[in-house]
């Protein structure tokens, strides 16, 4: 794709009716309409598809065809005008191109505005890009002679474009008129670089190197701009499709980090300011291998308006168990908080050696207990003892212990959406790069 340079922006002038020139095709005799004589250098006969040099006074035939072949039909008819990027453009040419090695096809529409020159609309699997040729040459991070090299990143106007594809392309089909002498089968080396939704393309042949920038345009915008009845829906993810999931993940990741930092700081503060006051340290009697019911502790005070209560039970168990069930009772309101706990500890030896299991201590936390006067009603039971004596157990009530479970649960809850967003972003990017020659999501060993 060769092209003309940018023309400075001026207020959008009205597009005047072109000075149409008509002549007979030197090959088939059919009528040829040249929409922009003086600007176009070649035109394709709509009847026989022969390409004619319009700058030659005898209308020299550049490429001759004897039978009509129309393997491609433009989605936007030639001569159709539409408004894109705030300017009116007329479709004057259409070509189909392909990769020489893979026979991968796409189509290109040449747009013209007498005041702004030429632009291209490139359509590939329902995805559209608006292309403008530029005079500037981007800077490469590599010092290599060729174009489209692995790891190449180009910088232009503050944007960084990663190499996406490179190869050799050829012109397969043309209709309309063009600003150069278009030749069917002509080949160029090309390379595409992307910084979605923007792209940078390079076309290189023996005589010139042409750089152009592109920007993704939705098919709905194309349909509206050119007043088309129907435009095919896009298939897959295009190289320059706006990276919505990536942008979403960028914001989401920042919020995720902020939220995690916040609850971490809050957890440190809460742990540091927890009162951890022993409200009751009770020693009770229990009967080994028996039950001891209806024990009541002295009344104790739980300070603070509302906080948690940790109850820790310790019993001298050894290949035996101790079970306690009880309720924390508010001495004023009668509100109860039931609980039960087992302490069991076992040890022995087997073919693998010595083993142990359990502990002589167990704790539970009752959440959000209002302050006030409380006592405990307790029932105990035990088993597994070799003797049947009375023994002592210890029960400690602590007010306001730091809770770490909440921190991990909230960190988990706060991570669900960011992980979904990250996964979506990965899928989108993997889909985008699936058609690339330089896919970073595929290891070189595959």
């Amino acid at each position: 794709m060769a092209g003309n340079a940018d023309i400075p922006d001026v207020p959008n002038p009205p597009v005047t009716k072109p000075r149409v020139k008509m002549f007979a095709c030197p090959n088939c005799g059919g009528s040829i309409t040249l929409r922009y004589p003086g600007a176009s250098m070649s035109v394709v006969c709509e009847n026989c598809q022969s390409i004619i040099d319009v700058n030659d006074e005898n209308y020299k035939i550049l490429t001759k065809f004897f039978k009509q072949a129309k393997p491609f039909t433009p989605l936007i008819p030639l001569g159709q005008r539409g408004s894109l990027k705030g300017k009116t453009w007329e479709v004057i040419g259409f070509m189909a191109r392909s990769d020489v090695n893979s026979a991968y096809f796409w189509t290109e529409y040449l747009l013209f505005n007498p005041y702004y020159g030429y632009r291209w609309l490139v359509e590939d699997k329902g995805h559209w890009n608006f292309i403008t040729t530029i005079k500037k040459k981007p800077e490469s991070n590599l010092r290599v002679a060729g174009i489209g090299v692995m790891g190449e990143v180009l910088t232009l106007d503050g944007k960084r474009y990663k190499v996406f594809n490179s190869g050799r392309t050829q012109v397969d089909y043309v209709i309309g008129e063009f600003y150069w002498r278009v030749v069917i089968g002509s080949q160029t080396n090309t390379a595409d670089y992307i910084d979605p939704p923007f792209m940078l393309s390079c076309e290189k042949d023996a005589s010139e190197v042409v750089w152009s920038t592109g920007e993704y345009i939705s098919h709905k915008e194309i349909k509206k701009a050119f007043k088309l009845d129907k435009v095919p829906d896009p298939i897959g993810t295009a190289a320059t499709e706006p990276p919505r999931a990536k942008e979403s993940w960028g914001k989401m990741g920042m919020l995720w980090a902020l939220f995690l930092a916040f609850i971490t700081c809050a957890q440190i503060w809460l742990s540091g300011t927890s009162p951890y006051e022993v409200a009751c340290d009770y020693r009770g009697i229990y009967l080994q291998n028996g039950k001891q019911n209806d024990q009541t502790t002295p009344v104790f005070t739980l300070e603070k308006e509302k906080s948690n209560v940790q109850i820790t039970v310790h019993a001298p168990v050894s290949n035996s168990w101790f079970y306690i069930s009880g309720e924390l009772v508010n001495n004023t309101t009668g509100a109860t908080y039931p609980f039960e706990r087992t302490v069991e500890y076992y040890y022995g030896t087997d073919s693998d050696g010595a083993w142990t299991e359990g502990s002589s201590e167990s704790a539970l936390t009752i959440s959000a207990v209002p302050g006030g006067k409380y006592y405990l009603n307790l029932d105990t039971e035990s088993g597994g003892y070799a003797t049947k004596y009375k023994d002592q157990y210890n029960l400690k009530v602590v007010r306001g212990v730091p809770l770490y479970d909440n921190y991990f649960w909230f960190a988990f809850f706060l991570s669900i959406l960011p992980l979904v967003s990250w996964s979506t972003m990965r899928q989108e990017e993997a889909s985008r790069w699936a058609n690339s020659d330089f896919n970073p999501y595929v290891s070189s060993s595959e």
Binding site: T342, L364, A368, N406, S421
Partner: protein, 46 residues
Amino acid sequence: MVRFYFVTGSLLCAIFVYAGMNGYKVVDPFAVSASRPLGPGGHYHK
């Protein structure tokens, strides 16, 4: 989705601080289960 996450995340942070200050265990799947003696079973070796 970002706006939704901003709102829900802010709400979760507020709940976290409120729960921490008032001693709430927001999720406590193990405390609701009964605690009965199990006897030796899944022991581990020293």
